[in-house]
Symmetry: C2
Subunit: 290 residues, 2 copies
């Protein structure tokens, strides 16, 4: 690592729709701000970097997330899994001599191409901070849920499921949209969906939501919870079937993380919720200390 | 059956978006017309019936399809599977003494609620006409693909997969839409999708379409064919895993039917394409002859 990150520095978790800036001093967060200036709402990234330094200090800056994608500032090429902190540090993409982007990770294990960009900092930080073991199955639920096999403290392999996006599409468009307007709660309907998700037969189980309505079997007030349980449960069933672990460590906000935890527990496995912000800071510190 | 269908009569296959009217004389189609007056574009069904009789003859009329649903003329209650021609004939819903709606079929086998309305005439007609055996697995691909277990010439059980609707949603909305604009063709990319569909891991395999693009592994021109193969292949994999047969009889237009046939053959099973219009007429004739 270049000497420029030895003192205080700025870290930016720059995603598609949101951005969080951290001023890090002595490994601790001295100041932080979150806004909605994700990469899709930014045209001039250099000007944004100037503005960030004007607010947080004229310091070296480490960027992570979609800012390094083809819709971001510049493309930081993926490093191939297995990848740890050393590989990320070696693959930093330098915009200038004090501004760098953390690369994403790609995998091609088992003929399944997959990519991540942004999640890698949290994942490796969670291990570095001792929040999760170096050999474990991690989940990062969201629009696209990442399921990550960590081995020897590195990202060994991973798979992304479009679970959150499918739920959003079904709530907004198509046959089921009118039924899925209700709030998702962690109750009997959700767990019934998780149970039916064990079939791993999503396209058919989804139609069952319509059929249950036609046959008077389920109130539409419960349909969204059932659908969420079905989608998350199908995702969990597929991942646990391929897992050699008996627990999953979840990096997510408590609500969504709680839904995944309930589905994992319904499969008889343990689920641990991990603080993803702490993991991100630990990951950034680990990269700059290489 | 009442005597009113003993002579010439009218049969109407009245779906959500389209309608087909047949004048049937001596069991044969004497005249037919197809238009886009599906139930969603009709307000006054009684007036439509008068108009049909004005064009085709003042005859008894048998209606099938969504015309008997809660968005149709009047609700013809489902009859429960197992159901054959006799059960449909006994369950006819009479609008007046010479106008009847064929009921749909419902199932609750194995805690899986499912419904059909309109497909039942084709299914039972295919058996009645000797186009398929009385014990067989039938598929009716479409927006919602019906998979039907026929036993002793009756609809014994069935499951509906939202395969076509999911494909349409993904082509129009969300992350993959920009990649899926291409034409679907029955080539290597489609068959690769069918192969990956054997994993029955749809939400994750779909994200692979994005990842393959990011890693330069597949041209977007092939992405739609791959996605179609993946969706149809996942559907086929789930159904064949639960099937006791070694063949599937497909009621569909030749293009979509051909896609399903290729996926079924990729699983080492036989696929037979059946003329769905001939099956419908045979089914209607069988119902009126009860």
């Amino acid at each position: 690592m270049v000497v420029s990150f030895a003192g205080p520095f700025l870290a930016v978790d720059w995603g598609t729709t949101n951005r969080r800036v951290f001023l890090i001093e002595g490994g601790q967060v001295a100041k932080t701000e979150r806004d909605d200036k994700g990469v899709t709402s930014v045209d001039d990234f250099a000007a944004e970097a100037v503005a960030i330094r004007a607010r947080f200090g004229d310091l070296p800056m480490l960027l992570a997330g979609m800012v390094g994608s083809n819709i971001g500032w510049q493309v930081a090429p993926y490093v191939a899994a297995p990848a740890g902190v050393a590989e990320l540090a070696a693959g930093l993409f330098w915009i200038d001599d004090r501004t760098a982007i953390v690369p994403g990770i790609s995998t091609l294990v088992g003929r399944r191409p997959d990519v991540m960009r942004g999640e890698e900092v949290q994942l490796l930080g969670a291990v570095a901070a001792g929040l999760v073991p170096g050999d474990a199955l991690l989940a990062q639920p969201g629009t696209h849920c990442k399921w990550v096999e960590m081995a020897d403290g590195k990202v060994a392999d991973f798979v992304t499921a479009m679970t959150g996006e499918l739920f959003a599409l079904l709530r907004k468009h198509g046959l089921l949209a009118a039924q899925l307007g209700g709030e998702v709660t962690l109750g009997a309907a959700f767990l019934e969906g998780v149970e039916d998700g064990k079939r791993q037969d999503l396209a058919a189980s989804l139609f069952g939501i319509r059929a249950a309505k036609m046959l008077g079997q389920r109130d539409d007030a419960d349909a969204a919870s059932y659908a969420s349980g079905l989608l998350i449960g199908t995702d969990v069933a597929a991942r646990l079937a391929a897992s050699k672990h008996d627990a999953v460590h979840i990096l997510a906000d408590p609500v969504l993380g709680g839904f995944y935890a309930a589905a994992i527990q319904a499969h008889g496995q343990s689920a641990y919720l991990i603080d993803s912000h702490a993991a991100f800071i630990a990951g950034i510190n680990e990269i700059v200390s290489q």
